[in-house]
Symmetry: C2
Subunit: 619 residues, 2 copies
């Protein structure tokens, strides 16, 4: 129906007096304007609607390095390979200097990544080694397939929370950890498959469905929920609620405080939290010391482990990690539950995880790409992320994505390419092989403090304030997501944010502005006489503009009644001065790009009403 | 955020060269255009968004007859009364001539209404008298409160089907008819309350959510489903499925045909169906004999009952109605279940019934009002319908609304006001008192044939073909509703239609047109160079128009990347001829009425990109 809006408008205009308005008064103007192209046929129209929705973001971006040269015999294969594995493209020009930077960045990344991974595994209700596994395999896959140079792949807080809160509802990790783990791998596999298919079918726009405001609110709420979950580790509690909402968690903490608890945990957690935060403060103050903030979590782990080992504080109630399996990722291919009673639940969880993980990764990737001045291919990123997760799910990893905090560290440490991810992966691998035994005495409270220290970055009060200033409805979305996550659950928060975002678009389509236009004196510019009181109406002509893209079922009745009411008022009030009576009505539908059947029948009814009831003649 | 779109556009335009385009070249043009009003404050903005959505349709329409005169002491009370009861307004000028027409129309209406009501009660799985009760009380209430003059109130096919299919899922009418009936009354009460509140809170736009296309599809599907349900009566089956989808019904019919069945039912049903249809054909052919089609159902009931009584065919397998309670509507106030386990389910059913009933009533009312050339007040109609149903639910009625077929008969019979509804109600009341005993021998098959004869009016193939020609996406909505009702259930059909309708709006917002504009030679009109190949681009200036009302989260990234890509292409290809290089970019955002935070940040990023990467200067 596009492009016919103008034609429909012309049909309804009871007398178009173009020449009266046109100051330049060229006779061929009308001819030029009205010689619009033919409306599309049946097939083109159907195909067009679908294609427009799924059109690739950037044409030609995937052409690879072969541009300009005629393709050789195996040229197309090479081009395809280069397109799938961008490493083949930038690998040639990779220099030793870049490598040196990447090694330094990778080591810094690993020193932050190891303690964070263990902490996030704890948040995901998995054993510590699974967090480390997730920092080994997915970064390797991403390094050869991804297009972002700075992003650091691995487990992140929000996805860990999402996974644990959703999978816990299917199987309780405390009573049946093996099934819980199997379901987590299944979710990871399915999330990867979803991500790959989003990329292949160019569904990149799905990521846009979560508006910026919704993400700000969601992240803020998730950060507070994650923080509250850390009270378990920080207070050394044994029993805790599986729910994530504020009310349940506060109740659980209150009831736990009646039991005897060991202040040693709280003391360790708080002191290392203060240590990490002050290191970060120093790192921010003096840019050259940024590595202090990157290395402080690892330092905390080492120091606290040594302290507990030296004082044998675990015998006095300080909770420790105890057993950690050493060695490389075991295969988990046989644990996937792709059929059976849990598959549907897993798929639901997977699609939410896939979208949230992609949203975070693409937001991180885009913001750093824009600093460095290059462009990210959203669909390729999705395929790379998806492959990382599919391969990860077969090697005991859970859902990995780009982390805000680690990507920032990677960037500050001077990473030049995804090689820093490879270096980190190898470092974590070595740690898995050699150092796991020494984690036995690591207090759980220090993991809680590492997670807590990463949370302030997720709560963006400044941005929320900014949203409030710019758009109140957007702030409502933000607040809805925040409150939903905080008092409902992660899924409820997302659902609320999505519902508000879409309801906003629908509500604004329901009651569009319909304006009477007047001419600005001495020009041929027509403006709303409500907005520009200086604009003058043209005698005997009523010009009405419809301010919406869609003249469709949800607003056609409103627009029709509005216009008829106005014309009727005009005709009735100006009855005495018969010479100034409205004789022509011009509908300015230049804003309308789409009309459906309801819209067309509304136009027809306006026409009928004008001719029959009001006696406005049709020329 | 409205009205600031223009301001934001001005901020991003890297060099606005209005004067170059403007043929009339008046110095004060820019001043006039840029002296736009101040953006609204926080409160106005929030209130504005809400108010705009819920704004009354027609202002001053409820002022009543007191216009022009100064209000007397009790004038305001009279005005309010007149507003609530329009009968007080038109009652004064009501003439004997109108009354005579109304009595004739009312009697014709009753002769059609009595057999239809019995049939629809059967469809709603209630005893026959409940259909008649519903034709007594709601028309009386509507007569004093409604604004439509032609509409005929009573039970209708689609609502009866909806009610029986949804309430049957809560309680089986075969095993527990008392509870089933109580729930039907509860649903009726709640539906009435919903309708009144829609009217009071001016939520008339909710009715528009079901687009014309969706209604065409839904009605078509419902008609076929209702027709299939009649196979039970037509074949004289004792056991039948409670499901309404085609597959279940055909399965039920096939399995029932294996049992012995009595062709007498089928014979009676078919012969009277042919009789009614041929009477209608004659009525259409010779306009003066239209009463033949109106009276033929009643005639069929009388003839078939007499035939069965005479031949005692009920002893040979012909199913008859048997017991019908005589007398006026009993009170059902004590049967309402406003608390207890079923209330939530009842409320869900009620809201769907309320919307469907209103949609049908308002569609019927509007179409006849437009023929007679007066206007219907949607909100008042809702209050009138709601009150009818609330009072109805207290007096053993189920959900009543305006019927397509009976309204057409009422109109053809020359009804002048709602008095015809009162006449019909009184006639039905007399029939309830006196004639109920004689319905004992009425064969059920004749009821089926009466319902079947009313169905062709609901299937509007011509309109569906029209929708297909005009808008393929609209046809998809229509088809979705049709297939959903046919193979799923009534609720699924509605949900599919709503989902497709809204998805259409969202999808078209996701990928808006972004056009490069050129000037039509010799004019100052700018058009898309894609649509108008004759339009010429202005050297060194790239003019881009964004064709959407909403620059928001779902399309901001797409628009941003599109624009940046174009500018980059322009800059890169025109590098050699340095003098023709793009130096200014003008964004025409006159179509954009709303920007959210994502939209603003997209504009900021375009600006940044232009300045940093492409070296386009900001003046």
């Amino acid at each position: 129906m596009e492009n016919t809006a103008a034609a429909a408008a012309a049909a309804v205009e009871t007398s178009v007096t173009v020449s009266a308005f046109d100051v330049s008064r060229r006779p061929d103007t009308a001819r030029l304007v009205l010689s619009s192209p033919k409306p599309p046929g049946v097939r083109e129209e159907l195909v067009g609607v679908v294609r427009k929705a799924f059109r690739p973001r950037a044409r030609g971006a995937g052409a690879g390095g072969g541009a300009g040269r005629p393709p050789a015999r195996w040229g197309w294969a090479l081009t395809a390979l280069k397109s799938v594995f961008p490493v083949l493209q930038w690998g040639r020009s990779y220099s030793f200097k870049s490598f040196r930077s990447d090694v330094m960045a990778g080591l810094t990344l690993a020193s932050l990544g190891i303690p964070q991974s263990i902490g996030y595994a704890n948040l995901a209700k998995l054993d510590p080694q699974y967090g480390l596994y997730t920092s080994v395999v997915p970064p390797l896959i991403y390094a050869v397939m991804g297009t972002s140079r700075e992003i650091a792949i691995g487990p992140v807080a929000v996805v860990s929370l999402l996974l644990s809160s959703m999978v816990s509802k299917i199987v309780d990790p405390a009573t049946d950890p093996a099934t819980y783990r199997a379901l987590v791998f299944t979710v990871t596999f399915l999330a990867g498959v979803f991500q790959v298919s989003f990329g292949l079918f160019r569904l990149g726009f799905l990521v846009d469905f979560l508006s910026h405001a919704a993400i700000v609110g969601f992240m803020g709420g998730a950060a507070i929920v994650i923080g509250l979950q850390q009270l378990k580790g920080l207070l050394g509690l044994s029993h805790f609620t599986n729910s994530t909402d504020v009310v349940s968690v506060i109740k659980a903490v209150c009831s736990a405080l009646h039991d005897p608890w060991h202040p040693g945990n709280f003391f360790i957690g708080c002191s290392f939290l203060i240590f990490i935060l002050s290191m970060r403060f120093i790192g921010r103050r003096y840019k050259k010391l940024f590595w202090l903030s990157a290395i402080s979590p690892l330092l905390s782990v080492v120091l606290s482990t040594a302290a507990v080992y030296a004082t044998r504080a675990d015998k006095h109630g300080v909770k420790i990690i105890q057993q950690v399996h050493a060695g490389l990722n075991p295969s988990s291919a046989k644990q996937l539950r792709l059929s059976g009673p849990y598959t549907v639940d897993c798929a639901k969880t997977a699609i939410i995880c896939a979208v949230i993980a992609l949203t975070e990764a693409i937001a991180v990737g885009r913001s750093f790409a824009s600093i460095r001045g290059y462009k990210l291919d959203g669909n390729k990123e999705m395929i790379a992320m998806g492959c990382s997760n599919v391969v990860g799910s077969l090697s005991s990893c859970y859902v990995a994505t780009g982390s805000f905090s680690r990507t920032a560290v990677n960037f500050s440490a001077g990473a030049r390419s995804t090689v820093s991810n490879i270096v980190m992966s190898v470092t974590v691998f070595i740690a898995l092989e050699l150092l796991m035994k020494s984690l036995y005495y690591t207090p759980i409270a220090v993991l809680a403090s590492i997670i807590l220290s990463a949370l302030p970055g997720l709560i963006d009060i400044k941005e929320a304030w900014n949203i409030w200033k710019v758009d109140k409805m957007d702030f409502l979305t933000c607040l809805g997501a925040f409150v939903g996550v905080l008092f409902g659950s992660v899924e409820i928060g997302l659902a609320v944010a999505l519902a508000i975002s879409f309801a906003k678009i629908i509500i604004q389509s329901i009651r569009p502005q319909v304006e009477v236009l007047g001419r600005l004196q001495g020009t041929n510019i027509f403006c709303s006489i409500r907005q520009y009181p200086v604009a003058c109406r043209i005698p005997t002509v009523l010009t009405i503009r419809i301010d919406t893209s869609f003249l469709c079922f949800i607003n056609s009745t409103f627009i029709k009644e509005r216009i008829i009411e106005w014309i009727r008022e005009e005709v009735e009030t100006s009855d005495e001065k018969a010479r100034e009576r409205v004789q022509s009505v011009v509908l300015d539908m230049s804003n309308v790009v789409n009309i459906d059947t309801s819209g067309i029948s509304a136009l027809e009814e306006i026409h009928k009403e004008l001719v029959l009831s009001l006696g406005i003649q049709v020329k």
